[in-house]
Point group: C2
Chain length 212, copies 2
């Protein structure tokens, strides 16, 4: 996105730190964008995911393009992007955003049986830690309607862009404001469902919800 | 992403309202995910964009995969996703997020000459309305380093998922809290660059920055 980010090496050569950065980015996010092939054309869609050790688990319907691509062994590409700030540089060229992103590539596998069931639990708990104990577990019909596609965190790269603008020295002292506008995701006061029993309090895991 | 969203029809059949929803989503966002082909495999990456009438303009370096795909007439897919809330349902199956997304497909064209120059201005102003008057304009070298790829907003679909959880009637009244945790993007107090002249005030267009 314009600036020269810190490009973290592909994993075959990575340092331990890199893996922890990749995990941290994947754990803070929960919406990814997945690209797959349909009639030899690329299609990108958003979906929910959760990291499970060295895999990313993608949520979708059984008939989704992602699940169909995985079943036929067609490659997937998955991106998770967290935007941290507007980089307000003195030049148009250096104006950009600060962000952290992970992109991974690989074939997906559609989880079955106990793995599938466990993955659906991880999805709930990944989206809202603490929620799993409260939700009604899926029925067999619901499980059949929901596909989880696992993609290994193997061929992966991460980019991290942070800090103040990197203006050209010739642009300094020109009387133009420069800096960063921090961007954060905020989680508001939970809104009860219209059909909620009135005496029920908001669970702690929702009133204190945050991801970073 | 799990729930049954309002699927807005593809544009050949769309109502006028649909177009305005698509524009509103594209105008609120500024980071998109672009899928392109590399050696017949899909690759997805995040990048900055701005809407220009009935086109989306994608920002990248001249040597980026997006620009190369556009030059060889290879198809692109572009997604913009805005996440509005955690849908806290009583069942795992209905748990999801509220979101608005646009996905478009098409070939990209690399802008040249005056179109390229104008697109770079639109990028600055799209990211931070009001900024264009203050930034130092790009040099010829900077312009050559930066590619803008235009994709028509033509083969496009939008999904909008909003409102409370859609729980199964059998799950109501079970003493489990349900509702929505609103999600918003917040823009913090601008942080001056370390090399900023100390007397410069934060411009109004930054202290009042918001996108929705």
């Amino acid at each position: 996105m314009g600036r020269s980010p810190t490009r973290i090496r592909r994993l075959p050569e990575k340092a331990v730190d890199d893996r922890s950065v990749i995990h941290a980015i994947l754990d803070e996010g929960y919406v990814c964008h997945v690209a797959y092939l349909m009639d030899n054309r690329p299609v990108v869609i958003p979906t929910l995911y959760v990291r499970d050790e060295e895999k990313v688990l993608l949520h979708g319907s059984t008939s989704s393009g992602i699940a169909r691509a995985a079943r036929r062994g067609s490659p997937l590409s998955v991106a998770v992007t967290l935007v941290d700030g507007l980089v307000v540089a003195r030049s148009a060229f250096e104006s950009s955003v600060n962000y952290r992103s992970v992109v991974l590539h690989g074939e997906g596998s559609v989880l079955e049986g106990a793995d599938h069931r466990r993955a659906l639990d991880l999805m709930v708990e990944g989206l809202i830690p603490g929620r799993l104990a409260d939700v009604r577990q899926p029925t067999d019909v619901e499980i059949r309607k929901t596909a989880v596609v696992a993609v290994p965190i193997d061929l992966v790269s991460a980019k991290v862009s942070s800090g103040p603008p990197e203006d050209d020295p010739a642009d300094l002292g020109t009387g133009v404001w420069a800096g960063v506008v921090p961007i954060a995701t905020s989680y508001g006061e939970p809104i009860p469902a219209p059909d909620l029993e009135p005496h029920l309090d908001v669970p702690d895991y929702l009133s204190r919800y945050r991801r970073s």
